[in-house]
């Protein structure tokens, strides 16, 4: 097996104080516009939503102080708890499935002819607008749709997908659209692994799974962990896909399909006559934000490895 060289962190010392100072100044000047914009458009509103979450507010009249009441209510609110469970289902079960499928496709496509074309095909669902997918899947999964016709054709019971299992259909749709994206990212990471590692492994008698475990995974680990963080953040923000599947331009999707992002919309601007409950919605946004932070920190900690240079 080829020897892998571990990267050592190099601390550059001994540079003159003037250069250091100039670099620092240049850094500040270059970073300042981004910091200002980021503060105005992200940090400020985030802090503001913490403040709003402690109030009852219709967005127009004066806020009324509620302390932590919004949070207490949220933890007793069946609709929010169901939305939170759905969010976790997408994050954890969805993430597991997306990455398992991505790795499986990676293994299958690594040595196949026409892999670039196959990669484009797998990536394709990711570029289709959710509204188009929802229309298409509406036809596929309706009681007299193609899926049930196929199931009936082989003598299986045809379930009422859209009536009884809508969240499952949405869940599968999310897996289907996202897998191609992660396959593409992971494939880009594995493409840069030199072929001679695999050739040496083959000579040593390693099978595809062993090659995957001992070469592909360690050498693409930094990309895998970054992809995991991207999934964590994006899965908590899923909105348009659920909305397109279950709702119309006027009507919100049924509550059993809501995640926290749809819940926030439902408490503010969603529906035929919106609720405009900004304090309550902000509290749920705060809980979602804190969840993202906790999950990302945990994930970074669990997936921390020394990077490998090759």
């Amino acid at each position: 097996m080829a020897v892998l060289i571990r990267e050592h962190t190099t601390v550059h010392r001994g540079q003159g104080p003037t250069i250091t100072r100039q670099r620092r100044r240049a850094f500040l000047i270059l970073a300042l516009p981004a910091v200002i914009l980021y503060t105005i458009f992200f940090v400020g509103p985030t802090l503001a939503s913490f403040w709003v979450s402690l109030h009852a507010w219709d967005g127009v009249t004066e806020m009324r102080w509620r302390g932590l009441d919004n949070f207490t209510l949220l933890f007793e609110d069946e609709v929010f708890l169901a939305a939170f469970r759905n969010t976790l289902a997408i994050l954890l079960a969805g993430g597991l499935l997306v990455f398992m499928l991505s790795f499986a496709l990676l293994l299958g496509m690594r040595a196949m002819a026409g892999r670039r074309f196959a990669r484009s095909v797998v990536f394709f669902p990711n570029i289709i607008a959710p509204i188009v997918l929802s229309v298409l899947w509406g036809f596929l999964f309706s009681t007299d749709g193609l899926v049930n016709a196929a199931l009936g054709g082989v003598g299986l019971d045809a379930p009422n997908w859209l009536g009884d299992h809508l969240f499952l259909v949405i869940f599968l749709g999310l897996i289907w659209t996202n897998t191609g994206f992660y396959v593409t990212i992971l494939m880009a990471a594995t493409d840069r692994i030199p072929r001679y590692f695999y050739e040496a492994a083959e000579l040593d008698g390693a099978g595809p799974l062993q090659q995957f475990r001992h070469i592909t995974m360690p050498l693409s680990w930094d990309v895998v962990s970054t992809a995991a963080v991207i999934w964590t953040i994006s899965s908590l923000k899923v909105f348009d896909f659920i909305y397109a599947f279950g709702g119309t331009s006027n009507d919100l999707p049924p509550i059993h399909t809501w995640n926290t992002a749809v819940f926030i919309y439902g408490q503010t601007f969603g529906g035929r006559v919106p609720a405009y409950s900004f304090g309550y919605a902000s509290a749920s946004a705060v809980i979602t934000l804190v969840s993202v932070i906790v999950f990302v920190l945990l994930l970074r900690r669990v997936m921390r490895r020394d990077p490998i240079q090759f």
Binding site: W51, M63, D144, G163, K237, T248, Y276
Partner: protein, 433 residues
């Protein structure tokens, strides 16, 4: 998302709110004394945020009315075609004070976005103003008929409606020609008619509010105007167990379990079922007056849109679309004058002939495909769409519709519906108290 859009103004919020509190109260006092009310200056410009998109036929009609109004009065109207989410866009503006002079949307939406927070302008003066050249007031030419749908808690109108939307059980008159002369008067007649024809009812049951139309209508027919909302507003949820509710729920239970809904009604995606109905695969569709315009592409050439009144219902569920003026509008008098001028028959006529809608003026004939609905709106008392449940915040989507769809699709009985709805409702009001 929401978190960002509502709160990025917050650093200024305290100052603005304090300023708003002072100026709003000052405006409130001035509003009645304002010498400009009723006497706008020529050359003024009013800003109008419209619920229509610029390419919609309603926009064409409104544009022509604006041109004529400006020619008459020298008041300019600057239109922003905001589309259906106009009131969602208005909400942050209401706080900042940079509001348009005129908006339009349906009555319940305006009630939620502007009336609930006291940001509406009292339009009593417009309702009693003369429609130019007609010798009648705005209320008298038609809008006054919808007074119950457009007044605030003090009984003052917050909206001047120009379009009316009514509900009915649509069918193809070419397929069922004899129904026009003999529509079922009672629920039993209606079920007998369905049985006799082996007819199917189409429903896009994935839209909770469409499914709810059946039960809310049945309850409205049984209990009378305003009572369904009282049931929903009961904090304990126990009101649903009352004996007066039972007959209507039993009727719906029989409808649900009797196989009257066309296959796919609870297992497809909107608008699949209304398309199937238009294509002749089902016979009836309980829907609002937009049904013909939404389905005509799927309907055969000889399709005749007719609509039965909901059996046993002495009133008709209706919604209205009209103009409202924000409380802090800079040019309320000019906006009011525009509204009065728009109510002229010649200005509104295009809404029927070009946009194919029912206007609030009974002297403007409705498009042929909506004639049955228009007749109901003219001859019967009107009651709010959805019996006003949609003005109870998230109650319909969080409480009523999930339980109700289970009921209408035959998964739970009427007794289970009452129990589950009562429990959910009590939880909801505890949360929203």
């Amino acid at each position: 998302m929401m978190r960002r859009s509502v709160s990025h103004r917050l650093p200024r919020a305290m100052v603005i709110l304090a300023a708003v509190a002072v100026t709003a109260s000052a405006c409130g006092i001035e509003g009645t004394k304002n010498s400009k009310v009723g006497a706008p200056e020529p050359g003024e410009t009013i800003t109008y945020w419209s619920m229509w998109e610029e390419n919609e036929p309603q926009a064409t009609v409104i544009k022509e009315a604006i041109t004529a109004f400006t020619k008459e009065t020298a008041i300019q109207v600057k239109v922003e075609w905001q589309g259906r989410k106009v009131l969602q866009k208005l909400t942050p503006a209401l706080r900042s004070g940079d509001v348009p002079d005129l908006v339009d949307q349906d009555g319940n939406s305006v009630r939620g976005a502007m009336v609930a927070n006291g940001q509406h302008h009292d339009l009593s003066a417009v309702m009693s103003a003369q429609v130019p050249g007609e010798g009648k007031t705005v209320a008298e030419v038609g809008p006054g008929r919808y007074r119950d749908l457009i007044t605030d808690s003090a009984g003052k109108p917050f909206l001047v409606p120009y379009e009316a939307l009514g509900y009915g059980i649509f069918y193809n008159g070419a397929k069922h020609p004899e129904l026009a002369a003999a529509s079922p008067a009672t629920w039993d007649d209606f079920i007998a008619m369905l049985d006799g024809r082996k007819a199917k009812v189409a429903l896009d049951g994935d839209i909770g509010s469409y499914a709810a139309l059946w039960t809310v209508h049945a309850l409205g027919a049984e209990l009378g105007a305003g009572k369904v909302r009282e049931l929903a507003a009961d904090k304990t949820g126990g009101a649903w167990s009352g004996p007066q509710v039972r007959p209507a729920l039993e009727r719906i239970e029989k409808l649900a379990k009797g196989g009257y809904f066309a296959p796919g009604s609870f297992g497809s995606k909107f608008p699949a079922m209304q398309e199937k109905w238009a294509a002749g695969q089902a016979d009836f569709l309980l829907m609002g007056s937009w049904a013909p315009s939404e389905t005509q592409k799927s309907a055969p050439q000889d399709f005749q849109y007719r609509a039965l009144p909901f059996p046993g219902m002495s009133a008709v569920q209706a919604a209205v679309i009209g103009f409202a003026v924000p409380k802090r509008a800079a040019h309320p008098a000019a906006a009011e004058r525009f509204i009065a001028s728009f109510m002229k028959k010649e200005r509104m006529q295009g809404l029927a002939t070009v946009a194919l809608n029912i206007t609030t003026r009974p002297d403007i004939p409705a498009p042929e495909q909506l004639a049955d609905i228009a007749r109901q709106l003219t001859n019967k008392p009107v009651t709010p769409f959805y019996e006003g449940l949609d003005t109870l915040g998230t109650y319909p989507i969080e409480v009523f519709e999930p339980v109700h769809t289970e009921f209408l699709s035959g998964k739970i009985t009427a007794a289970e519906f009452v129990t589950r709805l009562g429990e959910k409702q009590a939880e909801f009001w505890k949360k929203n108290s």
